[in-house]
């Protein structure tokens, strides 16, 4: 998903002055991309909506500090990504993620018959298969894949956002792609 959301300068100036109408206009312009980013990184729509709310609370509170360097969407996206990562860390405290991932991963391998009807074309994974496979990854893996491959963040940027090393980001990406490949392979075999 590529987003080139251009917002008029005048709207940003009004938002920075605390004008509620302008702030709402910003919210309307970015609610879907922020929510979608959060949903790809997290597991549930509820978590993604909470991240959407937290992100905009910070946006409206700190828009005065936004000096117009770089794109507004880049600035908001970074806030959203770091809010989502914060929530992932909180979720990790609550659940042992790897166990979860392994058990649901196995389900997918055996869930073949149900969604081979989704119309996969040989060799090219149908969208539904990839989306389902992607959802089986851990939140951390999904975040790394999404931020790197879709949003175009570098491993250095991801490492900084996550408070991890560059090699952590790289190995997460490799592991995630290896899993995706295996899962999509299993789908193909069940066909």
């Amino acid at each position: 998903m590529t987003i080139s959301l251009a917002v008029p300068d005048i709207l940003v100036a009004r938002a920075r002055a605390g004008d509620l109408e302008a702030l709402e206009a910003l919210y309307r312009a970015f609610e879907t991309p922020v929510y979608n980013l959060a949903l790809r990184m997290l597991r549930t729509p509820e978590d993604a909506e909470d991240v959407l709310q937290e992100t905009f609370l910070e946006v409206v509170r700190s828009i005065k500090q936004y000096r117009g360097e770089g794109h507004l969407w880049g600035w908001i996206k970074r806030i959203a990504a770091s809010k989502a990562l914060m929530r992932i860390r909180r979720n990790q405290v609550r659940a042992t993620e790897e166990l979860d991932e392994e058990s649901t991963g196995r389900q997918v391998a055996y869930a073949g018959p149900e969604h081979t009807r989704s119309g996969s074309v040989a060799g090219v994974p149908a969208r539904i298969d990839l989306e389902r496979a992607f959802e089986q990854l851990s939140e951390t893996s999904r975040s790394v894949v999404w931020l790197h491959d879709v949003e175009g963040y570098t491993h250095e940027e991801i490492a900084e956002l996550m408070g991890k090393t560059v090699s952590f980001s790289k190995s997460q990406l490799a592991r995630a792609h290896a899993r995706l490949r295996r899962m999509l392979d299993a789908e193909g075999a069940a066909r």
Partner: protein, 194 residues
């Protein structure tokens, strides 16, 4: 035969693969197919549909923002009040040479400042503004007043060496900034016919 690992493939994609991986890749159709599949997966990820939130979270954000704004306005009022109290105290303690005139002048400026502040209260900062320029100007003036208040509070702290001229200058600046802010609001009000 040993093939490229996923790490190798990703490194090839980023153009930072090892010499071995590069060489192997040149001659191995299986690995070339793997890299092509990797590119396809990434392209497919980028093409996934965009999901929209089911609920509107703006009301929650707006309500929290309103609470913030009310709190900030209260703090602003308390801040200038404490600065004024600090100065009144200083005038009591240190009536310098020619102090009576200065004190009267300061008192007059403080009064003016308080009157302006009360006037400004009548203009609801939450109300919509007509242009970004006006809003930005008002915000800049409000910021400046806050900065002046901060300086006044510093100058007004008893242990700090007090320079009466500096104090006078700051209060004068505060009054000026408030007058400008007033002008901005009045102009806007006239323009929108309030």
């Amino acid at each position: 035969m040993m093939h490229c690992t996923m790490d190798d493939l990703l490194a090839l994609k980023e153009n930072e693969a090892s010499a071995w991986a590069k060489q192997h890749f040149e001659t191995c159709p299986a690995c070339r197919a793997e890299l092509e599949a990797l590119y396809q997966r990434i392209a497919a990820l980028k093409a996934l549909p965009v999901h929209r939130p089911a609920r509107d979270r703006w009301p929650a954000v707006r309500d929290a923002l309103r609470v913030d704004q009310r709190r900030r306005r209260r703090r602003w009022g308390a801040w200038s009040l404490s600065a004024a109290a600090g100065i009144a105290l200083l005038l009591l303690i240190r009536p310098g040479p020619g102090g009576r005139v200065d004190a009267a002048e300061l008192e007059r400026m403080k009064q003016q400042s308080a009157t302006l502040e009360a006037e400004l209260e009548r203009y609801d900062p939450d109300a919509r503004v007509t242009s970004g320029r006006t809003a930005a100007l008002a915000a800049a003036l409000e910021d400046r007043i806050a900065v002046i208040d901060g300086e006044l509070a510093q100058v007004g702290t008893p242990p700090a060496p007090v320079r009466r001229a500096e104090l006078m200058k700051l209060w004068q600046e505060r009054v000026d900034a408030m007058q400008q802010l007033m002008t901005v609001h009045v102009t806007r009000a006239a323009y929108v016919g309030l």
